[in-house]
Assembly symmetry: C2
Homo-oligomer: 412 residues x 2
């Protein structure tokens, strides 16, 4: 224990997860550009797949008939599935309010979900634009959410019961309750209504489960409102979930996000695990571990990689100022024969691939670029989590955070 | 020796190549979707990269300053570079004559080159359409070819001397003479003029070389005209090249291609090696090995993979009727939990990835699809070449060919 930070082990039917841990996102039963062998080489402990996407394609029944998600994607390690609620809502909500980032999430990976309110999502902190002519693509009622598929316009309905049924068919080790996810655009009154619905749905999810081998996590909502977060943490924390996830809007700044955790986490039963949905920036991982989070998931490491943004340690120029990112497309790498990060043990940095070569692969759009970059970013985050665990055990998390947060401000 | 077929070993500064061998194409210093580790696991012996593409991007001087092509792409095995002539010509010719396939080759992989006249390239056997309003993008004269970059419209010139200089800077183990490549659309008179130019350029390439550690192959041209092929084979075969490549138009049918080889190969010095440019279909590999070819290159296995066309053996339904291809997107694979080809030893077939999962990856456009499919197709061809070598040693090439060519005609 280092402040609120803690180390632990989550035992699942597909192996143990040393926490704090980061779940790599494999929305559609595949981590973009990586195979399960790559995941193992990178030290990945757990993958998060998405119910919404797999429900639509290939369909939960097909996955079940093929032996479940583990066999389907040939990954025998732990898997989490998100409940699908975030995607069903955010599609309707994003299009309705014209929140830019949401619409652009499809058909890109979105599994991490619940990012509508993360501090880095600046687009979501603007005032909603009323677009009365726009067709609403998702409608919520007390029973569930009715939505239109982003793939073919077909109509579907997800409820607490169907979400659990789909997640049981998929067969992940950890599944999530079906919740209504709000954004920073929602006011206190609406956030309260959504919270109450989420609480009723939480009980329904518990009632709906039929399998005994999956851990079901309840989701704490309440936006950036202290009274609602505390109410939700107490309520959800009082239900017989195996773990808890912090979802929904985390406010409009990192300070807001920290406060949300400081209000919620201490009210959750300490013997059960706590997941933070959709957060994965280097600084945020350090800050949120210090506030008692055990597991994370986020598309950031994999999506950044595909955009040529490679994570680098302070030794290689990473710092809060550049968000620990190096833009490999930059012309100054054209003749750089060195690795992305000399301190990194990943297959890309150790495999003789220079910054110049990676730049060439990105400039020419070679498919290999995505795999090499993703291998690097994922390994980078796995190694960071390993350092975090060691630091917590040694009572040195603050020291480790200072090392990253005071990183040299030379360009990466 | 089995008919004209023969086994051998090509020694290069980066290792030996057991022949007959198939060179996987890595046009822009990367085999699409595969890393050098993947290539080694698949049993790849040699990679072919392209001078035209690397000259334009990142530039030969940059590759040289970074230690040459082997270090640049982190592949320490043998490399061949094509001379760049085919691409420079085909771009101009294809746009000029409206030959569909050529234009679509950019910016896709094209390294195998010299495919303008391969029998499978049906587009090229149509009559040329005169398009007088269309700007000519490549102009050939006795000195070389002046062309416009397909990337940014900048003007460039390749000559026998500059092609060799670029290939020396890149540093491949085997380099190719700069030739004028004709298509089935060219008549006897033009094909003769191009042949004579190719012959003059062959001498200039030999004169231009300055490195002693690269094997330089001369290129036999002459289209599908017997007199020209024989003349070219005698002329090029009489020059002090370390090996020979059969380039240009191979006619309009498999029978034409076989005849071109039957005219040319016996006139080449038997102690030196013979490469067939741009051929890689299963049937063609078997037929051309039997006609004395030692090495091949072709984009087919890698490009087919990215299109979801997976190569399958007769045991898995492959036959000449389906060109040994299985369309993994087909709905009938949706619930197929078995591997692509049970007889295949590749990482995809042995890794627990079912036909159903691969179909899902292709249907959803997951990047992992391309790697798993390419690993399979490349391994498939490598294993075929291994069987070919064993068959030749045992005097059983004909038997092996019958096994493939009489493959069961059930759907793959």
């Amino acid at each position: 224990m280092d402040g609120q930070a803690r180390v632990g082990v989550l035992r699942t039917p597909h192996g143990a997860i040393a926490t704090p841990a980061f779940a790599v996102v494999g929305t559609r039963a595949a981590v973009k550009a990586l195979s399960p062998d790559d995941l193992r080489a990178a030290g990945v402990e757990v993958v998060l797949a998405n119910t919404y996407h797999l429900y639509l394609r290939p369909g939960a029944d097909i996955v079940r008939r093929l032996g479940g998600l583990h066999r389907f994607m040939a990954w025998d390690g732990p898997i989490i599935t998100d409940s699908g609620g975030f995607q069903a809502f955010s599609l309707g909500f994003g299009l309705e309010h014209g929140v830019g980032k949401i619409a652009s999430m499809f058909p890109e990976e979105t599994g991490g979900g619940h990012t509508g309110g993360r501090p880095s999502d600046r687009g979501a902190s603007e005032r909603p634009a009323d677009r009365p002519g726009r067709k609403k693509l998702a409608e919520v009622d007390d029973g569930g959410v009715t939505f239109v598929s982003h793939l073919d316009g077909s109509r579907h309905r997800l409820t607490p019961e169907t979400s659990i049924a789909v997640q049981e068919a998929l067969g992940a080790d950890i599944i999530l309750a079906f919740d209504e996810c709000t954004s920073p655009l929602h006011d206190h009154a609406y956030t309260r209504r959504a919270l109450e619905r989420t609480h009723r749905w939480a009980r329904r999810c518990l009632d709906a489960r039929t399998r005994g081998d999956q851990a079901l996590y309840g989701i704490v909502q309440g936006g950036a409102y202290r009274d609602l977060r505390e109410e939700s943490a107490r309520f959800i924390g009082g239900l017989p979930f195996e773990g808890f996830a912090i979802g929904g809007s985390l406010g409009r700044s990192k300070a807001d996000m920290h406060r949300v955790l400081e209000w919620s986490v201490p009210l959750l039963p300490p013997e059960r695990s706590r997941h933070l949905l959709g957060i994965g920036d280097i600084e945020d991982l350090l800050a949120c571990v210090a506030r008692g989070i055990d597991t994370f998931d986020c598309v950031a490491p994999t999506r950044l990689a595909r955009n040529g943004a490679l994570l680098v340690s302070p030794a290689a120029g990473g710092s809060p100022a550049n968000r620990f990112r190096l833009n490999i497309r930059n012309a100054r790498h054209a003749l750089d024969g060195g690795p992305v990060d000399p301190a990194c043990r990943c297959a890309t940095c150790r495999g003789g691939y220079s910054r110049a070569y990676l730049r060439h692969l990105f400039q020419t759009g070679e498919l290999l670029a995505y795999r090499l970059a993703t291998l690097h970013n994922v390994t980078f985050v796995m190694d960071l989590m390993d350092r975090v665990r060691q630091a917590i055990r040694a009572g040195r998390l603050e020291e480790l955070s200072r090392e990253y947060l005071a990183g040299a401000h030379r360009p990466a």
